[in-house]
Symmetry: C2
Subunit: 112 residues, 2 copies
């Protein structure tokens, strides 16, 4: 860590990608999944996550469904039809970005 600021701008794409793979997830689950997938390298804070989920929902990319497990609330999010399309688009943009950055910072490793 220490390079957290490089992730700025990529949170929405990460959320969309996880929902593409997992059908439905709740907020806390997303933070844990990301931490696990990145071996602790990326820790999504609540102050970033929840506003991001609310925005994706407001933009029509996510649907929400409230559940109660035991006595505790969960808000499950899933991709809408529009969200599924947008995810494909965002992932393509992310790939393009990663390729470009790789080429910029390490031309030797980006042979093409």
């Amino acid at each position: 860590m220490g390079n957290q600021k490089l992730y700025k701008g990529s949170l929405q794409t990460i959320i969309l990608k996880l929902l593409e793979e997992n059908d439905k997830m709740y907020g806390y689950e997303i933070t844990q999944k990301v931490k696990a997938l990145t071996q602790g390298e990326l820790k999504i804070t609540e102050g970033a996550l929840y506003p991001a989920l609310h925005k994706l929902e407001a933009d029509g990319l996510l649907d929400v469904e409230i559940a109660k497990v035991g006595n505790r609330m969960r808000k499950y999010y899933k991709l809408t039809e529009q969200g599924t399309k947008e995810t494909v688009h965002r992932l393509a943009e992310m790939q393009e970005f990663l390729k470009t950055m790789q080429h910029l910072v390490n031309p030797k490793l980006s042979l093409e």
Copy 2:
């Protein structure tokens, strides 16, 4: 383009990397170099570039030298000793970030 926001947070690292390769460069030259290297994918705006250069200078990572070419001013920037060390560090962080993101958004392509 359209994925410009993904570059948020990486401008300083890009500048440092270019100066590591080119010894000294001036602002406008940096914008043109980046545009060329990325085939127009990334266009650094002046409103982002100049404040970034000033900050890197204020932080002791860059030295500046003013030149006059014809009748026009140029401000050449080069890495300080501290800047050279910091560049190594920033590039390592960038590699780590790119690897992590690649793994997150496209597990199939990041075999390790």
